[in-house]
């Protein structure tokens, strides 16, 4: 029996303790353990409740604009030669990225749990903006932790969060990026755990978060699978998505996990070099370890201290990766590669000029892999890329990089 693709084996994880094979679990201080149990119970009840699902579906449709289109990228495909490329347009969601799918789900859950205050971490600011948006909509107090380096890189999103009524706390510890924002958010949560809902933005941290965020994001793949079958009458050759924590990738991939013929590629941030500290390619440069609640691949030094990371995109520079990705990587179901800052910029320019779509720098990593892969495939092969976010927030970064 083929273990890797055996039917039913990949879609039914994690186990009841939140383990994806050896990965995942709950590695947090005791103060948070019972609150995590309560969260899991509340989520499992909501998942079974048709009323909850109907309310979420209504918001996804009427508020965020789902289903998002599947765009055939003809000019890009012609330019590259080879495979036909489709783009899943998560950039067309309200707030400009896939993050809102998860925030609507968890926001409704926070409401059901009677929490009045929501906290979140954010890297690129897209999750912070989506959280602030949902909190405004659902009348919840919102506070967002963001590394000061990221606040400089994504100034526009900081302003958007404040406009939406959220309080943004700059985090000056460590590398002043996503990892440090998560540390501060956890410190807030452990202090205010009884009144506060921690709305995590990716498939990270302790169980049940990786499972719950995946479930809320898997709407991407369910739609995309239906759309591609309707348009082409067959499944894609390969799915592609960028991987920071990995929520847009798992969101696209999940509905296809048991389609044995569909290959999947996750693209990590290759940064500016292959030395520790110059990238965020956890699968090529990291090893299994425990960071911020979960067991997964982690960029770290020989002494188990977490390494600094670099990426031109603020949304991909996390030192660890969702535990389900680690599991699917070890099982050989998903291949992981990386794109450098330079390749990413080239991809962003190419997509802008050929398709009239300025994507987020994060998503442009996936497009960079399309540039490498498409020419090697045949015209009847379909590539389906998750265009997870739009690039308005990155225009200044790109301009600065282009001018030298």
């Amino acid at each position: 029996m083929n273990e890797t693709t055996g039917r039913g084996s990949l879609g039914q994880i994690p186990d009841s303790r939140g383990h994806f094979g050896p990965y995942g679990g709950k590695f947090v201080p005791e103060t948070l353990m019972h609150p995590l149990e309560e969260l899991e119970q509340a989520y499992l009840r909501a998942r079974q409740d048709p009323g909850f699902q109907a309310e979420l579906d209504r918001l996804l449709r009427d508020y965020s604009g789902r289903p998002t289109p599947l765009s055939r990228a003809d000019r890009l495909s012609r330019q590259l030669g080879g495979a036909r490329v489709y783009l899943k347009r998560e950039d067309l969601n309200h707030t400009g990225a896939h993050k809102i799918n998860n925030c609507l789900g968890q926001g409704l859950l926070a409401k059901r749990m009677g929490k009045k205050r929501v906290i979140a971490e954010t890297g690129a600011g897209q999750h912070g903006v989506a959280t602030a948006t949902v909190c405004a909509l659902l009348d919840l107090d919102c506070e967002v932790y963001m590394g000061e380096e990221d606040m400089r890189r994504q100034e526009l999103n900081v302003f958007r969060m404040r406009l939406l009524g959220a309080k943004v706390h700059g985090v000056s510890s460590g590398s002043q990026t996503l990892k440090d924002a998560i540390n501060e958010a956890i410190r807030d949560w452990v202090t205010n755990v009884r009144s506060t809902y921690y709305l995590i933005g990716s498939v990270l941290s302790a169980h049940p978060y990786p499972m719950m965020v995946r479930d809320f994001q898997s709407v991407i793949g369910r739609e995309a699978r239906e759309q591609i079958l309707e348009r082409e009458g067959r499944l894609p050759h390969t799915l592609l998505a960028c991987v920071g924590g990995g929520s847009n990738a798992i969101g696209l991939f999940h509905a296809f996990l048991e389609d044995e013929t569909v290959a999947m590629v996750g693209v990590e941030a290759g940064g500016r070099g292959s030395n520790l500290g110059e990238h965020a390619a956890r699968f090529s440069g990291g090893k299994p370890g425990i960071l911020q609640g979960t067991y997964s691949y982690v960029l770290q030094d020989d002494d188990g201290q977490i390494a600094k990371t670099h990426s031109i995109s603020a949304g991909l520079d996390y030192a660890s990766v969702g535990p389900e990705h680690a599991f699917l990587r070890d099982r050989g179901r998903i291949r992981y590669t990386s794109a450098t800052d330079q390749e990413t910029l080239e991809a962003l320019h190419l997509l802008s000029r050929t398709e009239g779509i300025v994507s987020a720098l994060e998503s442009a990593h996936a497009v960079a892999e399309v540039m490498r892969l498409a020419p090697r495939l045949r015209e009847e092969d379909l590539l389906l890329v998750n265009l997870s976010g739009r690039g308005d927030k990155d225009v200044q970064t790109v301009a600065a990089a282009d001018s030298g």
Binding site: P29, E30, M33, H34, V190, R194, G289, I290
Partner: protein, 263 residues
């Protein structure tokens, strides 16, 4: 029985509270840590918690975060920390509890670490982010080596959780006085009393209270309800304030005497 268990027994017979200071290893350097631990023992420490610095101390407040940064900036490694423990054991029999997050211990190789730590003179481990749910493997290693495993109990812990924590713990149970991160506070929380009651109903293990214990009055309050009082951030802050002073260790010793004696 381990050094930790014997120490609690002795204190019980003598009818006194147990004083447990915390020191971040390598803050601001290893030689200072060595002197501070010896001074603390001279000042009446019954057990010393030795913190292994981790780059991402998510359960710690600003004081211990800064100590961690100082130690790592100076090139702390676990290997150097273990060498320091071996050195300390030539001078003192005070029980030593290794206190950290799981990743640096896991990266070293947990089995290899436990055997090295035992050989150097560590008496037990407390791993802040190792929940009982994930602890089965590490616990078996510690028990196999005859070292104590101390787990945290928190104000949010249910009776069911405390039952499991008690079953997994040996030496003592560390009661977290309030929800939150480590750090000195003006007053002790009321939550701790009901937590201690819950623990007592599940186990006869000694209980030590930590998080926010930072003044002589706090220690007396804790000792009226529990066997031990843990002082972390207040000690670390005293070290921080005296960095560069030739008599740093003595000053920390004086501070510890003041805390214990309340004069």
């Amino acid at each position: 029985m381990t050094r930790i268990g014997q120490m609690f027994d002795r204190a019980r017979q003598q009818g006194r509270g147990v004083f447990i200071p915390y020191v971040t290893l390598g803050d601001p350097d290893l030689e200072t840590s060595r002197r501070v631990v010896l001074e603390l023992e001279a000042a009446g420490a019954d057990l010393v918690e030795l913190g292994v610095p981790f780059s991402d101390p998510l359960a710690d407040g600003p004081v211990i975060q800064r100590a961690t940064e100082r130690a790592l900036d100076r090139g702390f490694t676990l290997e150097k920390g273990l060498a320091l423990v071996a050195d300390l054991r030539r001078h003192t029999q005070v029980p030593l509890l290794l206190f950290s997050y799981y990743n640096p211990l896991f990266a070293y190789g947990f089995e290899r670490l436990v055997s090295a730590a035992k050989q150097r003179g560590i008496d037990g481990f407390l791993i802040t982010d190792l929940s009982v749910e994930e602890a089965e493997g590490p616990l078996a290693v510690l028990r196999g080596a005859g070292l104590d495993s101390v787990f945290l109990a928190a104000p949010t812990s249910t009776d069911e959780r405390i039952r499991k924590i008690a079953a997994y713990s040996s030496g003592f149970i560390y009661a977290v006085s309030r929800t939150g991160v480590t750090g000195a506070r003006k007053s002790l929380s009321d939550e701790v009393q009901s937590l201690i009651r819950k623990i007592r109903s599940q186990t006869s293990l000694p209980v030590a209270v930590g998080f926010g214990v930072s003044e002589p009055d706090h220690l007396r309050q804790v000792w009226s309800r529990a066997e031990g009082a843990v002082v972390g951030s207040a000690i670390v802050r005293c070290i921080e304030r005296n960095i560069g002073q030739p008599d740093l260790a003595q000053r920390v010793g004086e501070f510890a005497r003041w805390l214990k004696g309340g004069c």
